[in-house]
């Protein structure tokens, strides 16, 4: 901390010396300003503004020194000094003042007035900075505190501004300033143009400015009121879009959690209550694989995550085949018993993971490319959510391909539609069952990898998803991946659209109640299987 400050001061010193080179003589205004800095608070504030207004080359150094409490005046009122790493420097001459007695100096203090003036002055100076980002930030700062006094500076800066973003910010700041107190001298057409500019820009800030126009002619007021309405509509649309993104994001998590369940339920009529625990195991596989790769290649969290995808699929798939062969096989035709047995299995798996890894959360690292957020128009897009949406879409696509194109998929569909007929046609239904269950479990493992990026990885992870996944499958109808997709997305979006209206918990309750009511009308979901097989 201290070190960076020292470097910073060294830079200041260089600037100071450059200033001395290019401005050997002092104008009268600057003389007055330096005098003002030694006066009372109001004098200091006026001096600061005047320094910045005249684009004095040393203004930045002086104002920065003032801001950081490094500006001193001699106790007798004569002389102004800046404290640097190498002792004091005379502010007027830039010459080092080695023999100065620190006890004879008095720090120049600031009050709120001075601080406001300092902030304004720095923004003015930044408006002419060589870096476009600095200029944009300065304009944004002026938008926060619009003032008619800023108008000349903004006009000056706009005349030579080429960076589009900075230009946009300046236009906004200028419009805001035109509508601020004390800008009534400017004509109505100019103010109307300012309202139009703010309306075009949109956003909560522009809305606040338009809402708080002080005194203005009726025409301007009317235009502003209309602009506020327009911006309100726009903001509503954006918040709807944001809700939609959150909804799709939640929907994709639900989708990937429910896909495996839909496969096993659709093909075998088996409700696998241990599905959530398979997800949990997938998340733990992610943890283990990432831990292993990061011990070889420290700092690379992405590789571990990438390797975890096939690893989780294989581990959970193998586990699923084991469960089918060892347990579910014996319970065919008794769906309710299967439900109970797999629930028992889920308890065992939970406790096993708890014994192995401990009851508390384990840390799965989010790779750099997945952290952070991007802003698109008026909505924030968190990158890990975006990656999960893409991942869920890929898994869905892969499953569709498996079901449509591969021989296993053909056999699975045949068994789903008519088990006995499929068996008579020579399909080994028990093998199809085992592989189907393995596939569904493997997808649960993939869901675990995805969920490990947004949720706590603990032995209880699965319990949080199992009911929601059931709801998706029941809502969407079984034996149809598109039904699962539709179910997941409707539930996700409904949840997130209701959330701002009713609160998170109430939204969830509402959605559950809606599903319960929906089932009354469509007992077999949105996309029910049709045909004889259904009734058995």
């Amino acid at each position: 901390m201290g070190n960076t400050r020292h470097t910073w001061w060294r830079v200041c010193l260089v600037l100071l010396l450059l200033g001395a080179l290019f401005a050997p003589g002092m104008s009268r205004a600057d003389d007055k300003a330096l005098l003002g800095l030694r006066g009372g608070y109001d004098d200091i504030a006026a001096a600061v503004t005047s320094l910045a207004d005249h684009h004095d080359p040393r203004a930045r150094v002086l104002i920065d020194a003032l801001r950081h409490g490094a500006l001193y005046k001699a106790s007798d009122g004569n002389g102004l000094y800046i404290e640097t790493d190498h002792g004091f420097v005379d502010a007027a001459t830039n010459a080092a003042a080695p023999g100065l007695d620190p006890d004879a100096l008095e720090k120049i203090r600031q009050n709120n007035n001075v601080r406001v003036a300092v902030a304004g002055a720095l923004a003015l100076l930044d408006l002419a900075a060589p870096d476009a980002a600095t200029r944009r930030a300065a304009a944004a700062a002026m938008l926060d505190h619009p003032d008619a006094a800023l108008l000349p500076a903004l006009d000056h800066a706009l005349a030579s501004e080429h960076d589009p973003a900075a230009r946009r910010a300046m236009v906004l700041a200028r419009a805001a300033s035109l509508l601020s107190v004390g800008a009534s001298g400017h004509g109505v057409p100019e103010q109307l143009a300012a309202v139009a500019a703010l309306r075009a820009a949109g956003g909560a800030q522009a809305r606040a400015i338009l809402l708080n126009i002080p005194a203005a002619p009726p025409a301007v007021r009317a235009a502003a009121a209309e602009a506020v309405h327009a911006i309100d509509r726009e903001l509503q649309l954006w918040s709807l879009a944001q809700g939609l993104f959150y909804g799709v994001s939640l929907g994709s998590v639900l989708l990937i959690a429910a896909l495996g369940l839909a496969i096993t339920f659709g093909v075998m009529g088996v409700i696998n209550m241990a599905h959530g625990e398979l997800m949990m195991i997938g998340a733990y596989v992610t943890y283990v694989v990432q831990h292993a790769t990061m011990s070889v290649l420290p700092g690379d969290a992405g590789l571990g995550l990438a390797l975890a995808v096939p690893a989780a699929f294989l581990v959970c798939g193998a586990l699923g085949i084991g469960i089918e062969r060892g347990l579910i096989r014996f319970l065919y035709g008794r769906p309710l018993e299967t439900l109970l047995a797999t629930w028992g299995l889920s308890l065992v798996l939970q406790q096993a993971v708890r014994s192995l890894f401990g009851p508390s959360n384990v840390a799965v690292v989010t790779p750099a490319f997945m952290s952070g957020a991007a802003r698109l128009g008026g909505i924030d897009i968190t990158l890990n959510r975006l990656v999960i949406i893409v991942f869920a879409a890929l898994v869905m696509l892969a499953l569709t391909v498996v079901l449509r194109v591969t021989p296993l998929g053909l056999q699975m569909r045949a068994v789903t539609q008519n088990r006995r007929m499929a068996s008579l046609m020579g399909i080994r239904t028990s093998r199809v069952d085992a592989l189907t269950f393995g596939l569904g479990s493997g997808v649960a493992g993939l869901a675990g990898v995805a969920v490990s990026q947004i949720d706590n990885v603990s032995p209880n992870l699965g319990q949080g998803y199992i009911i929601d996944s059931f709801m998706v499958v029941v809502f969407g109808g079984v034996g149809n991946l598109w039904g699962t997709l539709a179910g997941a997305m409707s539930l996700g979006v409904a949840n997130k659209i209701l959330e701002p209206l009713a609160g998170a918990v109430l939204a969830k309750i509402l959605v559950l109640v809606l599903i319960i009511l929906f089932i009354q009308r469509r007992p077999r979901g949105l996309f029910p299987l049709r045909g004889r097989a259904v009734e058995s």
């Binding site: 319970l331 018993e337 109970l340 028992g344 708890r354 059931f470 109430l506 599903i515």
Partner: protein, 369 residues
């Protein structure tokens, strides 16, 4: 089999007698050899309340083929109704000593008692609500579900959704039921101190009596013509419908009766355990109740009672001695019971006796011709 030997009546008598003996022994002076400590009385009361819930689950699962994964919701609603009365009984003895509001409402700076708390200062009203609220909810839910012929796993899953929705709702502070902490710190019931051995002994005896009555009434229902229809619906719903009966009405009646019993069990449970919180709504609880029935033997009336007592006794032992092994044991119980004991312990006994009449065909709902 009920026709030949009303085993459930014997079970009711045994439970009642055992509970009364236990209650009387707990009143002996502590120095006596046969004295039963207070915590045993409390545990026995809790087990018997669970047995009432198990009986309720069995009535719908064993006799109507409806696997409910949400019966703990009715149990907990009955419990909340009783808990509300017990909260009102605390009166000014709470931390904030507010005569009108329970502590948690004072803590949330509420000024008025919500309207749905009115009347709960009377025990009779609370008892009525403990059966009425679960009954009405079950009637509404069952009417919708059975009318549109939701059955099998779909019904199981939406019963789970029901209890899950209630779980979330009762966690909310705004609901006015104590939120996360629920209702607790009860002092007395109808003027009797809840911490006195005599009160606890009486409560145990009352719980046993209620369980015995439930068993007898259930037996009477099932031996009636209606009971035959119920089993007919369980085994072949479509055939029963085609003969001209209305399966949805038949199912609805037993469903509501079962919910009422569960609510009663919950009310007795809360008095003896001394706390009710939203955790009672958690879907896991409902599923655990199902395993009591499965272990004891569904489709019989005394099987679930036996199962509830045994499994909960095992749970107490396990969680005391080897807490980390309890979930393994419970999980194994689920798996082994469904694989090897589809008719539960009662079925085992029958198998040993080579009894020819099975209580239940394996398989649920429709028997396809």
């Amino acid at each position: 089999m009920i026709r030949r030997r009303p085993a459930s009546d014997w079970a009711a008598a045994v439970v009642l007698a055992a509970a009364c003996v236990l209650a009387l022994l707990s009143l002996l002076p502590e120095a006596r050899l046969l004295h039963v400590p207070a915590y045993i009385v409390g545990l026995a009361g809790k087990y018997l309340s669970y047995a009432i819930l198990a009986l309720a689950v069995d009535l719908v699962w064993g006799f109507a083929g409806i696997l409910t994964l949400g019966h703990a919701a009715f149990f907990a609603l009955g419990g909340y109704a009783m808990g509300m009365y017990l909260m009102r009984e605390i009166g000014t003895r709470g931390v904030y000593a507010n005569p009108d509001l329970p502590d948690f409402m004072v803590f949330l700076s509420w000024t008025h008692l919500p309207w749905y708390w009115y009347g709960f200062s009377h025990l009779a009203f609370a008892l009525l609500m403990a059966v009425l609220v679960p009954g009405v909810l079950a009637a509404a839910f069952g009417f919708l579900a059975f009318r549109s012929r939701v059955s099998g796993v779909y019904l199981s899953i939406i019963t789970q959704a029901l209890t899950y929705a209630l779980l979330l709702a009762f966690f909310r502070n705004d609901m006015g039921f104590g939120g996360n902490n629920g209702l607790t710190d009860f002092k007395d019931i109808a003027g009797a101190d809840l911490h006195q051995p005599a009160t606890r002994a009486a409560l145990l005896a009352i719980t046993a009596l209620v369980l015995a009555l439930c068993l007898v009434v259930s037996r009477m229902i099932l031996r009636s013509r209606y009971g035959d229809l119920l089993v007919a619906v369980r085994d072949a719903e479509n055939r029963t419908r085609f003969i001209g009966y209305r399966p949805e009405h038949i199912k609805l009646m037993i469903w509501v009766f079962s919910a009422v019993i569960a609510g009663l069990g919950g009310a007795l449970y809360v008095i003896q355990v001394g706390i009710i919180n939203p955790g009672e709504f958690s879907p896991g609880n409902s599923i655990e109740a199902v395993i009591w029935v499965a272990v004891g033997g569904r489709g019989t009336l005394w099987g679930p009672v036996l199962g509830a007592l045994l499994v909960n006794f095992g749970k107490t032992i396990f969680t005391g001695v080897l807490p980390e092994l309890w979930l393994y044991a419970l999980g194994a119980l689920f798996i082994l019971t469904t694989l090897f004991l589809p008719r539960g312990l009662v079925g085992l006994r029958r198998r040993v006796r080579r009894d020819a009449t099975p209580a239940l065909e394996p398989g649920d709902g429709e028997v396809t011709p």
